[in-house]
Structures are given as C-alpha cells and as structure tokens.
C-alpha cells in the first residue's frame, strides 16, 4: 500500500461506516487517479473535500430517522448519562446511606446503561424498573432537603424504560463513550472528595482529571453539533435532571434568586439550540 493510499484511507474515516463500506474503494480509486505520481499525501483540496464530504454524509445519515425517533434516542442517551454520573458522587453527598444497599443501586444503574445498548428491550425495561424501585427504597433514608434530587433518580430509570419501550431503534454504539466518560469523571470526583483516604496529591490529580474529562466531553458535544444535535440534547437532559429539581426545590423553599434563575435557564437555552438544529435537519431531509 502506498503512502498516499494509506493516508487517503485514513481520510475516508471521516465518512460514516455504512457509507464507507459501500463507497470507500470507489472514492479511493478516484482519489488515487487524481493524485499526481510521487506524492506522499493526497492533494490538500482533495483532503479538505473528504473532510467536508464525510461530515455531510454523517449529518445526512443522522437525519434519516424521523424527528420523534431522534428525540427519544436523545432522551435515552441523556438518561444514561445522568445515571452514569451518579453511582459514585451520590455516595459523597450521602455517606450515611446504607453501604451495601447503595452499592447494589449503583450496580443496577450501571446495569441499566449497559442493557440499554446491549440487552433485548424487555430485559432493559425490567432492569430499569428494578433500578427505579431500588432507588425508591433507598430514598426513605434521605432527608427532606434532598427529596427533589431523589425524585429525578427515580424518574430517570422509569423514563428510560418508557423511552426504550416506545422506541425500537437502539442508540448507536458510538454514543456509549459518553455515559462511560461521565461515569469515569464521577468516580474521579468521588476519589477527590476523599471518602477513600487518598493523599492530597492524588486527590488533586483525580480532581483535575475529572475536570479535564468533563470539559473534553462538553467540547466534543459542541463539535458534534456539526453532524449531530442529539448528544447536546442528551447532555441538556442529563444536566437538567441534575440541576432543575434542586433549583426548583430551593426556589420553592427559600425563594428564587437571580443566579439560580440563570443556572436554570442554561439547559433551556441549550435545549432550544439543539432542537432548532434537529428540526432544521429534519426539514432538509424531507422528500423532494
């Protein structure tokens, strides 16, 4: 394989896998014919056109599904991210929860996420509902201040079960790293908060790593907007579930404040942005 060919193959990875399977060899043939002899890289304009073409093909693939399906897939991903964020962090908030029960709940939350991508739908729904019941039982140990937060914990697996029950399309495997990254960052936060006895140095490393993962996740999701708005909507759902009940509960109990209102508005604005992009794509995809 020549240099140009292996590099051109690398550039073709911008295209979605299904598209590549069908067209990669053909496009590669054309690209090699268009590349002058003795070059090590495909011409710059060809490389750039493959990047743009790949993004177009990806965004066309993402708008193939109806808007309702895309909304439910975003909901499923958002709930999975929310569930992944919490098995570790909850323990730092509520260290007085019964330990074994807590760990069982954490494992159930992780099992729900894994099942969503890999198990038959009926199994996923069953695991999600069991998780909701288990979290409900644990909630009896919580004090009143955290009840609003607990409500979203019980709501999340129930909503996930409902979304999976009504949506035969499974979320793409390429999304799985989002809940995985959220889970890893939450474990790091847990380590940083020194529930486990760590040296100050290790704990600060864990904290920085969690921040880097979290910011990387945000950046990736915004870059992703180029071809797909669903991950942003999912993130908004996850953040909304994490933030809004607390804000609403606080507002009810202590009266609303300016900063709280702003915090509560951020997910709303981001959701509107994501929905606008999804709608626009759906319109473009309408049959001519």
């Amino acid at each position: 394989m020549s240099d140009v060919e292996s590099r051109a193959r690398w550039l073709l990875r911008f295209y979605p896998a299904a598209y590549r399977e069908d067209r990669a060899e053909e496009i590669l043939g054309t690209l090699l014919e268009a590349s002058p002899e003795g070059r090590h890289w495909p011409p710059f304009r060809d490389a750039r056109s493959l990047l743009i073409g790949g993004m177009r093909a990806r965004s066309a693939e993402n708008r193939r599904l109806p808007l309702g399906t895309n909304l439910r897939l975003a909901l499923i991903l958002g709930l999975a991210i929310f569930l992944a964020l919490h098995p570790a962090t909850l323990m730092t908030v509520q260290p007085f929860w019964p330990g074994a029960a807590y760990e069982a709940c954490g494992l159930l939350m992780i099992a729900t996420i894994v099942a969503t991508w890999f198990a038959p739908r009926a199994v996923t729904i069953a695991i999600a509902l069991v998780t909701a019941v288990a979290l409900g039982l644990l909630a009896r140990h919580m004090d009143g201040r955290n009840l609003a937060g607990v409500a979203s914990f019980i709501l999340a697996p129930v909503a996930l079960a409902a979304a999976v029950a009504t949506e035969p399309v499974r979320p793409p495997r390429s999304w799985l790293w989002l809940p995985a990254a959220a889970g890893v960052s939450s474990i790091l936060v847990y380590l940083q908060n020194a529930v486990v006895d760590l040296s100050a140095r290790l704990s600060s490393i864990a904290g920085s790593a969690a921040a880097v993962i979290y910011l990387g996740l945000l950046a990736a999701i915004f870059v992703w907007l180029v071809t797909d708005a669903r991950p942003l909507l999912a993130l908004v759902i996850a953040l909304g579930l994490a933030i809004e009940p607390d804000v609403a509960f606080g507002a009810l109990r202590y009266g609303a404040s300016g900063p709280q209102a702003i915090v509560a508005l951020v997910p709303v604005v981001l959701a509107a942005l994501a929905l606008l992009r999804m709608r626009r794509k759906a319109v473009v995809a309408a049959p001519r």
């Binding site: 053909e26 043939g29 054309t30 268009a34």
Partner: protein
C-alpha cells in the same frame, strides 16, 4: 443550479463516465474553471442521484477496486437543458446589448446616437431570427 453541478451534468451528455473521468471532463468543458475535488464530486453525485438526475450505469473492477460509471437520466437531461436556456437568456441581455440600450436610453444624449442606433438594429435582427 450551481456551476459544478451544471458541468457534472454537462459532462455526462456524451455518455456515462466514472469518477476521475468526470473530474477531467468537467475541467475541460469549463476551460479549467471547475476543478472538482474528490469529496465534492461524490457529495454532488449522491445529491444528484437522490434527485433522480444521475444514475449508476455500470460497475467494473479496476486494479482490484470497484469503479462505477454514472449516466444522465431523462429528468437530469431536462434540468440541464432548462438551465442552459435560462443562462442563454441571461447572457442575451448582455451580449445583445438589451440592458446596455435601456440604460443608455435612461441617460441624457451625448451625441453617441450612431452607437445606440447600431445596437438597436443588431438586437432587432437577432430578435427576428430567434
């Protein structure tokens, strides 16, 4: 219709072509102006195929790789012709001096009546023959 699209369709007037041949032919037909990059070509072909203007005609294996040839469909040929007519009409405004004449008429006379007159005569003759 954008210029690259126009030249892709025009390249297929004489029969089906494969990817690289399409790039070369568009470049030749446009006098070197339209140089399609590989990704651009395939994005355009996907779109034109979805619109029904272009279709896959044949597949062969060259150097162990599939090479596909694309041909113009009837709706594609019709769209190309309609675009050509539109551009010819747009060009006539300038080349026949229709626009120039009306803009000159709007301006006050400056003793260039002879030029205006000849322009009118020429466009009048063309209009009759068309």
């Amino acid at each position: 219709m954008r210029e690259p699209t126009y030249y892709i369709l025009a390249s297929l007037l004489d029969g089906p072509l494969h990817g690289y041949a399409l790039i070369k032919r568009s470049e030749d037909l446009s006098g070197g102006r339209v140089r399609l990059a590989t990704g651009t070509l395939y994005t355009a072909l996907d779109r034109l195929a979805a619109e029904g203007y272009v279709r896959l005609v044949s597949e062969e294996i060259v150097n162990g790789r599939v090479r596909r040839s694309y041909g113009l469909t009837d709706p594609g040929a019709a769209a190309l012709r309609a675009e050509a007519v539109r551009m010819a009409e747009a060009a006539r405004i300038v080349s026949d001096g229709t626009a120039a004449r009306s803009s000159r008429r709007a301006r006050p006379e400056r003793g260039s009546g002879q030029v205006t007159g000849s322009g009118t005569a020429r466009s009048g003759r063309k209009a009759r023959t068309a």
